[in-house]
């Protein structure tokens, strides 16, 4: 009877061991454990001969039967089916032997030899089946290993694939961003090239104007000098005149000389106008003659704002302007070409005065002309603002404002060089000029200068 229980124990132990790396579901493991405990208990009871023997003998057969039934009917154990039939003949012979011995001991003695022989055959069968089962198990194991390996390879391939996909996506986005950068750089290059071409054109235009200006300046000097001289001579003549006795002819001569003098004054006037234009053109192409020196910008602004105001008051059509200075007194000395930079202040103020004069003429005395000049320390840069409350700059001409020879002034008043020169001077200080304006409200010129110039 112990043999039956040993078979139970062995079957359960073997099943538990055959679980493989992924193991059985927990409820199966629990069955194995309880089964093994039951088998061990039955073995101990069998050895101790604790009555009633018949109960545990039947229990032993029930247990092994249950285990075989369990193996055959559990899906997870399907591959162990041959294991279930391995001990079946032994169990059958033992059961029959037991039944016969219990029910008819006499008959048992008669056929005991047959039982022994059946036992031997059952054992041979069990061993054969066992070996067969082992072989099957090994094949299953090999297959399992192969399929596991394949699965592993499949998984790693999938992993590599997804990694590659991530890499490809990364590279693609890199390439796209590089493409964008390149496109940007190309656009920048194109616009720079256009600017260069424009500057080249302007530079050659500048050289041309400088040449022309010089060629004009010499004869113009003669025109101015001789007309001035002639006016002086006419003054001398009129000093001599009283000594000549009066006569109708003298009257006529004096009259004519007066005309000649007024003509000469006109020649001188227009000559000096032309001289101003030529001078601006030369200044434009050549730049100033001063040097960069640490200067007090506020003092320069005070001096030239004053000069611009009085200059305007002394000229024809003076206007009343309120000039306000809002200067940052903490401003350090900055490197300036004072001679050039004073022209910036003069030009911007002159433009403001001219624009506001137009507004006064259009709107009358209701309008109070006002200019504010501000300076501000911005750390490594200095801000200079010149703001007027004049008619403003229309958007459509804002771009053209800094172009040479562009002017909004009527007739002969402007050369169209003032702002262009102003811009050049600011650029030569490595600064920038920005124009903000609102029609009929204000115009603001914003100059940013670096404190240190390379």
């Amino acid at each position: 009877m112990i043999l039956i229980n040993l078979i139970s124990l062995f079957l359960l132990y073997y099943l538990k061991k055959s679980a493989g790396p992924q193991g059985f579901p927990t409820h199966l493991n629990r069955y194995f454990k309880y089964g093994m405990i039951a088998a061990a208990t039955l073995i101990v009871l069998g050895i101790l001969h604790v009555p009633p023997a018949i109960l545990f003998q039947l229990a032993s057969f029930a247990l092994v039967g249950a285990i075989i039934y369990f193996i055959l009917h559990t899906p997870e154990l399907e591959y162990q089916r041959t294991l279930a039939i391995t001990p079946l003949p032994i169990v059958g012979v033992q059961l029959l032997d037991y039944l016969v011995r219990t029910l008819s001991p006499g008959f048992h003695d008669v056929i005991e030899n047959y039982f022994d022989a059946a036992g031997v055959f059952a054992l041979i069968w069990a061993v054969t089946m066992w070996l067969n089962h082992r072989k099957q198990m090994k094949e299953v194991e090999i297959e399992r290993i192969i399929s596991k390996e394949q699965e592993r390879q499949l998984r790693s391939t999938a992993e590599q694939k997804s990694q590659l996909e991530i890499l490809v996506a990364e590279r693609t986005s890199e390439i796209l961003s590089q493409k964008e950068e390149l496109q940007h750089a190309l656009d920048h290059l194109r616009s720079t090239q256009e600017q260069l071409i424009q500057q080249e054109k302007l530079a050659s235009l500048g050289q041309l104007t400088a040449g022309i200006a010089h060629e004009i300046k010499n004869p113009l000097n003669f025109v101015n000098n001789f007309s001035e001289l002639s006016v002086d001579f006419l003054d001398e003549i009129s000093e001599e005149m009283p000594r000549i006795p009066d006569s109708p002819e003298k009257e006529n001569i004096l009259d004519l000389l007066e005309n000649v003098k007024s003509n000469l004054v006109k020649i001188r006037h227009h000559g000096s106008r032309a001289d101003g234009i030529v001078r601006s053109m030369l200044m434009h192409s050549r730049g100033g003659t001063g040097t960069m020196e640490p200067s007090d910008l506020n003092a320069l602004i005070r001096e030239y704002a004053n000069l611009a105001f009085h200059g305007m008051r002394a000229n024809p059509n003076p206007i009343n302007v309120d000039i306000q200075l809002d200067l940052d007194e903490t401003l350090p000395k900055i490197k300036l070409n004072s001679e050039d930079f004073s022209r910036v202040i003069l030009n911007l103020l002159k433009n403001a005065f001219d624009a506001m004069r137009d507004k006064i003429e259009a709107q009358g005395s209701e309008y109070k002309a006002k200019v504010i000049i501000r300076t501000k320390d911005l750390g490594n840069r200095v801000l200079v603002e010149v703001e007027d409350n004049g008619p403003g700059v229309p958007d459509e001409i804002k771009d053209k404002l800094l172009m040479p020879f562009f002017t909004t002034k009527k007739g002969t008043e402007g050369t169209g060089l003032g702002l262009s020169i102003t811009h050049d001077i600011i650029k030569s200080h490595e600064g920038s000029l920005e124009i903000q304006s609102e029609a009929d409200t204000f115009t603001l010129f914003k100059i940013l200068l670096p404190k240190t110039i390379s």
């Binding site: 010089h214 300046k217 010499n218 000097n221 003669f222 101015n224 000098n225 001789f226 001289l229 001579f233 001289d275 050549r286 003659t289």
Partner: protein, 126 residues
């Protein structure tokens, strides 16, 4: 007092003669004109020692430039004062002229008041 003006523009002569009309008339000044550096040197060399005390020269002239003329005059007639009159009032010309021994530097258009003062100061010394 003899003064020489050097300029390739011929009308300079008429202009200066008229400007200094009174001084010429009264005999304070005697003006001479040359229209090239070469002509100026010939005039200066015509008398030995030359009677000129002052030379005013243009810088941009065909042939010998005013600065070359300045150097030659300073080398051959060191006692004669030389000032430059130029339309190009830039640093380079100014520095070169002053380093070569020019007494003054006038830019065109000429400020005649300044020129007259310069000549008057010379006349006082004489």
């Amino acid at each position: 007092m003899k003064i020489l003006f050097v300029d390739d523009e011929h009308d300079v002569e008429a202009l200066f003669r008229q400007k200094f009309r009174k001084e010429i008339k009264s005999g304070v000044l005697e003006l001479a004109f040359a229209f090239s550096g070469k002509g100026a040197l010939e005039l200066l060399a015509a008398e030995n020692p030359p009677k000129f005390v002052y030379v005013f020269s243009d810088i941009n002239m065909p042939g010998m430039s005013g600065l070359d003329l300045l150097n030659q005059i300073k080398a051959r007639f060191p006692e004669i004062q030389v000032s430059m009159i130029s339309a190009y009032g830039d640093h380079e010309n100014y520095d070169r002229a002053m380093n070569s021994g020019a007494k003054g530097f006038f830019t065109k258009p000429v400020d005649f008041e300044r020129l007259k003062l310069e000549i008057a100061s010379l006349a006082d010394k004489n």
